[in-house]
Symmetry: C2
Subunit: 296 residues, 2 copies
């Protein structure tokens, strides 16, 4: 089946929500940049819109005929790219299923399980290996190193190093740097969440990611920013499977973020470092608590 047309399907769905608002459709080129796809794909989308009689399309006249309906959309499973599917399957396997460190990972078996070719699985594993959770034995299998206490400690050690440096860098940014405005916006978002924490605490994961990324961006060091991908993926899946006390934990974390933001605004190195350390310490505790002790 060569390539899946998930780019088309996903863009088609996004196009439906887009045109629900407006009357007339823009040019093919413009639509392309709007949706982030090439003209080829735009034309495929227009063709389908016409086929479903949502628009009338003749050359440059594209008139709305009717509003899009739920049935017009492609289902969510169809729009996720193969890489996303593989990542989810893999993470479920190694985190949820009793995956022991040292376990062998088999490309063929994984591929069969997920229902894809081996090529995609292989490429995923290569990409994923930079997270330090798996390791390749050439001409042989991959080895799962496991989400162990050691992993968490090594990860947080680097995180703390990087974030202290980034935070110091942030505080030293010139006053007219756009990051300060982003920080203000971030503060508002945090206050909003704190005011409605009972209903909104589940959204913290995403806010957390955005906040730390903002801090790291100021370092303008690609290695620091790239490393944050590892943090993101670990915490993302970690939040999904460890929900114990999450309301309290997240409320506390939002407060720490606000203290951290206030510290950044003082621009005083010692204050910043203190707030940063404080928050990272509790983040580490949370992570460690969720990991089963290997031999306790």
């Amino acid at each position: 089946m060569a390539k899946q047309n998930t780019v088309f399907k996903d863009a088609f769905n996004r196009c439906l929500t887009l045109i629900a608002e407006t009357e007339a459709l823009p040019s093919e080129l413009e639509l392309g940049t709007l949706l982030g796809v090439s003209r080829t794909t735009v034309r495929a989308i227009l063709a389908r819109l016409k086929e479903l009689e949502i628009i009338a399309w003749d050359k440059r006249t594209k008139a709305m005929l009717r509003a899009p309906q739920p049935a017009d959309f492609f289902s969510a499973e169809e729009t996720s790219s193969l890489a996303e599917i593989i990542e989810r399957s893999f993470m479920r396997r190694i985190l949820a299923g009793g995956a022991e460190p040292g376990m062998q990972i088999n490309e063929l078996e994984l591929a069969r399980d997920i229902g894809t070719g081996t090529t995609s699985v292989r490429e995923f594993l290569i990409r994923f290996s930079r997270f330090g959770l798996i390791e390749k034995r050439p001409n042989s299998h991959w080895v799962l190193k496991g989400f162990t206490r050691d992993f968490a400690l090594e990860l947080t050690e680097i995180r703390e190093m990087f974030e202290l440096r980034s935070a110091a860098g942030f505080a030293a940014l010139p006053g007219d740097h756009p990051a300060w405005r982003d920080l203000d916006d971030m503060e508002v978002l945090h206050r909003d969440m704190l005011a409605n924490i009972d209903t909104r605490y589940r959204d913290f994961s995403e806010l957390d990611e955005r906040f730390h990324l903002l801090v790291h961006r100021s370092s303008s060091n690609r290695f620091i920013i790239d490393f944050y991908d590892i943090i993101t993926i670990v915490f993302h899946y970690h939040y999904q499977w460890n929900k114990a006390n999450d309301r309290e934990r997240n409320a506390r974390a939002v407060e720490e973020h606000l203290e951290y933001i206030a510290a950044l605004k003082t621009r005083d190195p010692a204050t910043v470092a203190h707030a940063c350390r404080q928050h990272l310490r509790s983040a580490r505790e949370t992570l460690l608590q969720s990991i089963q002790q290997p031999d306790a």
Copy 2:
């Protein structure tokens, strides 16, 4: 042509040098662990040794008939794995050839150029992308970010952070830790090289890598150790194409290493940090000097 049999060829060559020393050959299993290959490959090697009438092989009697000759070996090109070939080609292209930052990288073109399938090139690029020199545009080409001054600065920033931490960790190792013995050995190697620097300065690159890796190992943090791969590859190719004043540079670096080693042995944090900073500063200078200024 599916898989190249480079594992066999390379192991065969190593086997030839191995048996040149000894009279009798060990068991198949033992030979396998010695060469780091499976019994299947060992038997293929033995079969070829017999065919060339280098040994007489009948069951468990494996007697040497004659010493291996240069003609018996596979040529060097034949034994390098596809990944190595691709890496070399690629580095030559992007470092030697006038590769501008922002240039597009084309999988198909690269593959045709090197004479391999696209899969291998693709996998190489994915693996290589973690070095921060290239970036993928999904469904489209790769972009060369280039070996620029910014890259070098970002790289060395992390390097200095990591190495200072590793060096401090090294100095704090217990006195009976095997790393101290390794450090003694390392010191001897450095003194040897310094004594014959005029003839040996070209070997510094390898010694440099081994020394810093020894220091980093003490961190026992996989992210620090992995990051050193980037340093290694950058400096490896950097040494290859920038030979200006290399004798003086390397002589100076060996001396700095010796000071660094002496500092580690004092186990005094301030002394260690000072020597470490000193050496890293001149390493950075060397690297920066070799990079063309973007607009000077």
